[in-house]
Symmetry: C2
């Protein structure tokens, strides 16, 4: 069973919305009225559930960031498990942002944990510093279960240039990693034209995003860094192909904490929904102007 | 409170043993008689506890590999939590092999999860592909709590050469990452001469191990790949300084599954203990021959 990113591409097309809502629930993001009298697990899950309920007709995918659940130990991981199951039950595409990476046998154990049958996770992020034999076990398990991965190529943070931009002859490291990603996926390209081995390319580096889009024609992009980190709609538009496909743009804090701008936590669902619509419309407008 | 690797160096000196026992408990490693009638969490913990009891007077440190606990979900993570607490209660130095790495705020969340007060973890492994601002939050939290980190520099797997050995002018990537590690730790060097920012350098690449030992004089090395992966005592000896310090050598499967060579699972503690003594003696002999 190998569907690569077809399911995500179809959901994006259906909702006319190439965005993913990041679910990075620091406890201080959870409105006081939800937290009151609840365990950490219940508080985080209730907030995530509310956010999913608010936008699941508008947004094709969610991306829980594993760190913000691991931070709260067993309680956080319980909230993560329930969040994944709930998002799946609402028909959303689930990307686990865990950036795992290890040597072969250990990579297999991670893949079993997150891409195994019944995990509810459609896709996870992987760190490729260890090379092919650290990535292949994730791809093998993903392929068996109709899932996909995103490998870190060019990240959105300020220091990403330190190693990722080092020039080896004519090419920076991120380009070399990107070309490996393109080749790792070549054996399994879906009907949407994209393989099951995608790439993480930050919105904060528009020229690299444009360069990589051209260089990696079968590689689906997960683009973080929109909004709070500084990436604009015209920047992220460079990550899409000529048909407006092949990329999904993440925003976390700006959507989850939209209510904080209005000092009106009770109506957090409405503000997140408004923020989702605004982001969708901005990106779609930028795509039309390309 | 900043002690860098002093605690580990002291434990190594006290036991005359620069090795760490990896705890990577695939369920099939756990002897049948321990598994019988137990939950996964209890079975894994009982096995780990037996291994720790068997060798804690001989071995200064344990290194649970997070993947093998995450693989078993909440049960596995419960076993990990109890294993860490038990190893700590036996006075062992605990290295969590989790290879986390992310952008700043997310790296902070991971650091809180594993290097926060009361975690029982002395040190964790970190993937530095994202650069300084992805590593610094781990170091900040480690420093606050008297802990340390190991950053992946040159890993032990066959494909590690794909990216890590690419030449940037005169220097391969692993050397550039290594020099960053040396500089990240420069602000906090312990009485043993080593900083709190160590490096992972695989036993399977002896010439690089020798090169990096010379180039990174204040960087403590975690050396995986001994035994099952092919690293020999004379190879790993190259990771030590002239006083036999500055490195710790990991072995997992060869120690945990020593009993399988004898088809005598009931006495697994004895076989692990024998294997630990043999490994210690081999490495100490190789150090004398340097």
């Amino acid at each position: 069973m190998s569907i690569a990113f077809e399911k995500l591409s179809a959901a994006i097309a259906e909702k006319c919305n190439p965005t993913v809502m990041g679910l990075d629930p620091l406890l201080e993001y959870v409105p006081e009225f939800i937290r009151e009298g609840k365990t950490t697990a219940d508080a985080i899950f209730e907030f995530n559930k509310g956010l999913i309920d608010a936008v699941c007709d508008l947004v094709p995918a969610v991306k829980p960031q594993s760190a913000y659940y691991e931070k709260y130990g067993a309680q956080g991981l319980d909230a993560l498990r329930r969040t994944i199951a709930y998002a799946e039950s609402c028909g959303m595409y689930v990307i686990l942002d865990a950036k795992r990476g290890d040597i072969g046998s250990t990579a297999s154990a991670y893949a079993d944990a997150y891409l195994g049958e019944g995990s509810g996770i459609d896709c996870m992020t992987v760190n490729g510093y260890l090379g092919s034999d650290g990535v292949q076990p994730f791809l093998d398990t993903a392929r068996k279960n109709g899932r996909s991965i995103f490998v870190l190529v060019k990240t959105s943070n300020p220091s990403s240039s330190e190693f990722q931009d080092i020039m080896f002859g004519e090419k920076p490291l991120y380009r070399i990693v990107g070309e490996h990603v393109e080749s790792w996926g070549a054996a399994n390209i879906g009907a949407d034209g994209y393989s099951d081995c995608g790439a993480v390319v930050g919105a904060t580096h528009p020229s690299q995003l444009r360069e990589l889009r051209a260089a990696l024609p079968h590689t689906f992009f997960l683009v973080p860094g929109y909004g709070a980190q500084g990436g604009r709609a015209e920047d992220v538009a460079l990550g899409f192909d000529n048909n407006g496909g092949g990329a999904v743009i993440n925003s976390s804090r700006a959507l989850m904490c939209a209510y904080k701008k209005h000092d009106d936590a009770q109506n957090y669902k409405k503000y997140t929904r408004d923020a989702v619509c605004a982001m969708r419309d901005e990106i779609n407008a930028a795509l039309k102007n390309l």
